[in-house]
Amino acid sequence: MTARSSAIVRDDVAAGRTTASSTVDAAIARSREVNAGRDGLNVFAWTDDADARAQAATITKRLADTTAGPLLGVPVAVKDNIATLTMPTTCGSRILEGYVSPYEATVVTRLRAAGAIVFGKTNMDEFAMGSSTEHSAYGPTRNPVRPDRVPGGSSGGSAAAVASGIVSIALGSETGGSVRQPAAFCGIVGVKPTYGRVSRFGLVAFASSLDQVGVFGATVSDAARGLGVIAGHDPMDSTSATLEVPDYVAAEDVDVKGMVIGLPKEYFPASLDPAIRQRCDAAVERLRALGATIRDVSLPHTDLAIPVYYIVAPAEASSNLARFDGVRYGLRLDGDGLRGMYEATRSGGFGPEVTRRILLGTYVLSAGYYDAYYRKAQQVRTLIADDFRRVFESGVHVLFTPTAPTTAFPLGAISDPYEMYLSDIFTATANLAGVPAMSVPIGRVDGLPVGGQFLASHFDESRMFTAAFALERAMGAEAHA
């Protein structure tokens, strides 16, 4: 069961057929029904029913004197690494235990301006480092489809909030696939916009050149509506693009006929799980039947994405996470003098995966290794971006690939860090190149959801949405079977 469509909720609230308070009550009731709490799915790092109801009450008042925003009365769950004023922002980390941000992220301001209700902070891998939402100070989140499975990560809590029907829209964040992979694992829609499309101001940085706020939707329409609200230039983010934001919902009305869809062969290796391949083939046939032109293409540097990603991202992270030093906010643990305080705080505050990546990142930037690792990785990153540029310049409009090499795996199944890193093998490329990408459900294997991924050229999210809308409509219930 999914939450009611954001479009319907918004129209009903605006027309007075229902109230924001009752949509909030429905979300609270659904949370209880699916056992979203700590001992159940563990969807949230923090919830505040009273705060959600208070927000809803102000919306009821606002109705009288303002034009209704595009998310009026729609509850939206927000990942715990996005700064909110009324609830803690802890990034799933002990080092930020109890930290309530003195300022608000631009995306949250925009959500509220659109009439949305910020409904809970969702659980995540600590500092977004992980692909399973098992690495959180609050414990693992479980996949609503099958609670013995992980929801994917790092935005697993947001994916679970949507997949369990608590909300129709949730914000996540992407650095290497942290929205698309959990969307695939949970059978919902997940969008990573073009780098620069959405403000990062207030998104706690993991790897600044890769991070982007993303949107989960129960449907393509929910995701398109959510992205439309948070996208657009923000003068507080120097990497924010000044481009106009198109109406993504309107992308549904564009015909997919004549669209050229590329299938990059590197994303369909011989080793690909045949069941996942079969689901992808079926989706491609749907698109072909709708009049899209299917073309085989190549992105030759794809297999280098994981090595590049796991140099660039930890390097930036090692620097971004230096501010967690026990001086101005968050955890402070005493030690011998200042040095001891630093080490006690950081060792006690960061979990093992974060510690590992900080050390890896520090190593690849350190004297004598910078050229071999960081500089080299940034050069290969250029080659990866060039692959995409070349394909899109050749007349291909969007690419289609599997989102992840596997379906949701059992909790605790992957203990080797590098094996976990390979979960991002089909998603990290989009972050490295900065292009937009999204995952849509394309059926199930052994009852577990499979995601198909669309990628487009920079700032061409609309075309990607058109393809996703068309595929969603064509597949109907098959997308969840």
């Binding site: 004023l85 309530v100 003195p102 300022y103 780098y195 050149s209 003068p235 507080m236 120097s238 990497t239 693009a241 540097h301 280098l304 994981i306 090595p307 140099i311 090692s318 230096a322 030093d325 001086v327 906010y329 968050g330 955890l331 402070r332 030690g335 003098g337 200042l338 040095r339 305080m341 630093y342 080490e343 006690a344 950081r346 060792s347 960061f350 510690t355 590992r356 900080i358 050390l359 890896l360 520090t362 190593y363 350190s366 290794y369 071999a372 690792y373 080299k376 990785a377 940034q378 050069q379 290969v380 990153r381 250029t382 080659l383 971006a385 860090p417 590098y418 490295l432 190149a433 900065g434």
Partner: protein, 102 residues
């Protein structure tokens, strides 16, 4: 270039992370395994290839030299671990103690 225990001690110092001996030894192995996979990069010819810096950006935007300051909804006192008379407090440093001792 295999990572040694001394390397791990050095980077842990740079990153201000305290590691037990057992954890440090485990990190040596983990980093070597991870970096072993990174060796694929060394086989790529990147002669003349630009580094990816500021991908997609059209130069650096600037802001006018004027206020008002971006507001804090709560003062830093509300989140800081130790504050006195408006100052943030940390364990004592000697006057010229530099970053390396800190």
């Amino acid at each position: 270039m295999a990572v040694t225990i001394n390397d791990v001690r050095h980077i842990a110092t740079l990153a201000r992370l305290g590691l037990t001996d057992a954890r440090a030894a485990a990190i040596v192995d983990e980093l070597n395994i991870i970096l072993g996979h990174m060796d694929a990069l060394s086989r790529v010819d990147t002669a003349g290839v630009q580094e990816a810096i500021g991908v997609g950006a059209q130069g650096l935007p600037v802001r006018a030299d004027s206020g008002p300051p971006f507001p804090l909804h709560r003062s830093i006192d509300s989140v800081a671990p130790s504050v006195r008379e408006g100052f943030l407090l940390v364990p004592r440093l000697s006057t010229h103690e530099s970053s390396e001792e800190a």
